[in-house]
Symmetry: C2
Subunit: 224 residues, 2 copies
DNA sequence: GCATTTCATTCTGTATACAGCACTAAATAT
DNA sequence: ATATTTAGTGCTGTATACAGAATGAAATGC
């Protein structure tokens, strides 16, 4: 693959900080302070911050600098809808383009992941498996742009999804839904596939918006 | 609105240069030369270039710098599919959310644009009217993220669309399609709306991929 | 007491300098 | 003649310095 540069790593680091609310929403980012904190100079820091502006994590106002965008419940809804748009479009094409071999591979991965899925108590691990499945699904469409967009969306809602993860009851349903979706894809049944996928995504939307409200209170409790 | 900064303008300028193929596909961007050409220093130039990396116009490789991404026919197809995904999802929600007043406003705009639409021979003006209609459509969904994404996609396929614009026969069909789409929205007929919109977008996909092939030959004829 | 203005401080915005790496081309060896 | 090495050149990557703008606090006027 391509050489990962220093700015790439810095961007990832800041992206994570923003997504985890380690940078407070609506807060002005003071470059000098942040640069010292991350042990880099302001020049590469600003390059990374500029990338995050284009990725939707930050805003930039001339003369004032960079601000962390807040994740309101409305924006979470927007992102979930965008996610549904991307994934459904991908499936619309995957149903005719995905090779049986690629689908079989994904089914295999699902089988191998299942025991871990049932056993683990690590929410992040659970989420990563879920994300990996959906990314693999989109990859079956052969559309690199849809892949890019989903990656962006996932990054932005990752920690909200994690907070919304209900360990008790969510797991069997989720795993079952993944199997149903894959089944519809194998059967090349577009209507069923799209219906199942959309329902699967919509189901989590409400959990997530509730989660972001909880998250907000957490943040402001921490901050005082 | 928010203060537009110097880097914002620089980003727009470079974005346009990339979209118009004034920066050659796969070409390495030499920062010193480009900085001199645009009469800025390398620091703000690199900030703008970093934004364009995140917007999908450029790539960045550590130790080598920035490269213009080439627009292959495959990527054009990908972008058109992504466009269909965004616009259809937007309509799916607009059908229940858009206020009658907002829809009436759009219908009015369409009426007032029609004479100009029939008369003008300026391809760019034509394209801008088309883009404005589709952006307004998506805005009816109330989803800011879908809006953002469509803006990005439009920027990247703008000049390819312009090349693919057929002045002779495309105009009446296009205008008619816009009216049909709006009619379905007014009737709150989701199925019809989505079908019409998707057909309208798909219809231009082939034109555009052909156009990008033409564009490529143009570029390489110029470059020698 | 409240608003307003002024001043000091701090931060942003950009140029520039320099170190180190990557590419090119010439030269040498096989 | 071709492949490989090596020196040279130019570019990227980052730190730093400095100018100008914005913010906040203190002081003054009403």
């Amino acid at each position: 693959m391509m050489t990962e540069s220093h700015v790439d790593r810095l961007t990832s680091q800041l992206r994570r900080m923003a997504a985890e609310f380690r940078i407070k929403p609506d807060e002005r980012i003071r470059e000098g302070e942040m640069a010292k904190r991350l042990s880099v100079s302001r020049t590469p820091l600003r390059e990374a911050l500029n990338r995050l502006v284009s990725e939707g994590y930050l805003t930039f106002t001339g003369g004032q600098g960079f601000f962390c965008r807040s994740l309101t419940p409305e924006r979470i809804m927007d992102l979930y809808e965008a996610r549904a748009a991307i994934e459904c479009e991908a499936m619309r094409h995957a149903v005719s383009r995905a090779s049986p071999a690629a689908i079989a591979q994904l089914a295999d991965d699902l089988d191998r992941a299942e025991p871990l899925y049932e056993r683990t108590t690590d929410r992040l691990a659970l989420l990563e498996m879920d994300e990996a499945f959906h990314m693999a699904l989109v990859r079956l469409s052969g559309n690199a742009e849809l892949e890019r967009m989903l990656e962006n969306i996932n990054g932005r809602i990752r920690y909200v999804r994690m907070m919304g993860l209900k360990m008790e009851d969510g797991r069997p349903g989720r795993m079952g839904a993944h199997r149903t979706i894959l089944g519809a894809l194998i059967a090349r049944d577009q209507d069923l596939l799209l219906a199942e996928l959309r329902a699967h995504i919509e189901m989590r939307k409400e959990d997530a918006t509730q989660a972001v409200r909880d998250a907000f209170s957490h943040i402001y409790v921490q901050a005082g």
